[in-house]
Amino acid sequence: MELVIFLAMAVLAVSSGIAVFVVDSMARATFALAVSFIAVGVELILLDMGYLGIITILMMVMEMAIMVVFMIMLMMNPGGLMPMSMFHNTRGSWLISLGTFAVLATGSLLIPWPVREGEPPADLTRALGEAIMGSKMLVMIAVSAVLFATMVSALVLSTSRGRYDS
């Protein structure tokens, strides 16, 4: 059962990834990418990484919603009403991407992966948090607040007034 879902998500991820380049509309391209990310998130959930999978879906959908604003603003054919080909160096891209895929696939199949020792911990989320941040958790939280304040201040300093006059 899990294998079926995994395969379905894999097919969905790859095909919506291809759709990003095939569709004409920028809005559709962005959300095809979002679908691809969601499929990857579901696969992470299937691998018992529930927290990571759901966070992936959360962050990626939010990012796609922000990205679509920029896609519509900056790209040439946002609605896709005039079909135009936007590929450059098509042959070169195919060669590079297929080559990279071949190398990575061969590697993932031939590498001697380590054997699991012991059991997965009972609370995976807690174990994940401790593995990533360990003893530095307080520092990380403080740093993230400082980063956020820096971003906001940089924005405020760089534009003396906002978009609207009132």
Partner: protein
């Protein structure tokens, strides 16, 4: 079938009315609003949500074209009525409601139903301006060009691409021509203001000389006029209870000339609006004319003691005020500088600014 009958009766119990009132027929509009209040019918903002199109008075020119477009945009079982005067409004609207219950779904082939191509109309209409916004993906089959051909610009669905222009910060952004009016919620029906939008910021605005008629309806009821304008501004602010309250006070002032009754309600409304921090945040400093901003004008309208009419002398003050403003601020500014399309002066001045 009994089921369909019941569904139709239920659907017609709460008709959604789209009101297109020509200038000079304010009494018809007020009569329709009072009927809606009594029977629970809803006055709606958009033809997609409407069942009944009510034409108040002699609708001509731009307004007539707009009314036809709105009629075409209404889906589903719909009914239409022309009201030329304010008497027997209630009976006629009740009859229209029965007609709506019996109305059948027509099979229509226009683009509002099928979404196929559409020729850009000569007249700007309804609330959808000139169709140019970020063009969308779906192409009806026969226009497909695969490949790199950009020069053969077959306009999809008859829509043009927007041109670019400089904005306030010298960025080149798409400039989309749009028009406000002639039919909008909280708007003097019949007024059309053509604007150029970059995003949601107005770059230039011009009023189109439109239908205007002479009538002294508001001149005879200045206090009611003030509360009508206040009700409109409160509608645009989104404060539905306050707008309804102001409308009730207006109706009372129209029926009797003594001010005894609604004083309590009016002063309560005035207190609420004065204390509201959200109103203060949105209206302070907006559309300053003669030293008074939008909030000052609104508070002045809500006091019921003097005889002053609330209208601006011409549309030029409004056009100057909305230059460079964002769309919702512009709507608030225009609502706080209402023009009386019925006064004789309006029909001669058509302002142009920007």
């Amino acid at each position: 079938m009994g089921m369909k009958r019941t569904l139709a009766n239920w659907a017609a119990s709460r008709p959604h009315i789209l009101m297109v009132d020509a200038p000079g027929f304010t009494d018809v509009r007020i009569a329709v609003e009072q009927w809606c209040l009594r029977t629970g019918a809803v006055l709606v903002w958009t033809p997609a949500d409407a069942d009944v199109l009510v034409l108040g008075g002699s609708v001509e020119g731009v307004l007539a074209a707009a009314a036809e477009e709105l009629w075409r945009e209404m889906p589903g079982p719909r009914a239409r009525i022309q009201l030329d005067s304010a008497d027997k409004v209630a009976e006629r609207l009740d009859a229209t409601r029965r007609e709506l219950a019996a109305a059948k779904l027509e099979i229509r082939g226009d683009e509002w139903v099928s979404g196929a191509g559409h020729n850009a109309l000569a007249s700007h209409d309804g609330h959808d301006g000139h169709d140019m916004t970020g063009p969308k993906a779906e192409h009806s089959g026969h226009d497909m060009h695969a490949g790199h051909d950009m020069s053969a610009m077959s306009m999809p669905a008859g829509l043009d691409m927007a041109e670019r222009a400089d904005d306030r910060d010298r960025l080149k952004l798409d400039a989309v021509p749009f028009s406000l009016g002639p039919v909008l919620p909280g708007w003097s029906t019949g007024l059309v203001i053509d604007i150029v939008l970059q995003g949601d910021v107005i770059q230039s605005a011009a009023a189109r000389p439109g239908a205007a008629a002479s009538s002294d309806f508001w001149a005879l009821h200045p206090t009611a006029a003030r509360f009508d304008c206040a009700s409109r501004l409160l509608t645009v602010l989104g404060w539905q209870n306050a707008a309804a309250s102001a409308a009730v006070v207006r109706d009372h002032h129209l029926e009797t000339s003594e001010v005894a009754g609604p004083i309590e309600r009016a002063s309560r409304l005035h207190r609420q609006v004065e204390r509201s921090r959200l109103v203060r945040a949105q209206l302070t400093g907006l559309a300053v004319v003669d030293g008074a901003d939008a909030r000052d004008r609104l508070l002045r309208w809500l006091t019921s003691d003097d005889d002053q009419l609330p209208f601006a002398s011409s549309i030029n003050a409004g056009l100057a005020a909305i230059q460079g403003l964002e769309l919702s601020s512009a709507r608030l500014a225009l609502a706080s500088l209402p023009v009386d399309l019925e006064s004789a002066t309006m029909s001669h001045h058509a302002g142009h600014h920007g």
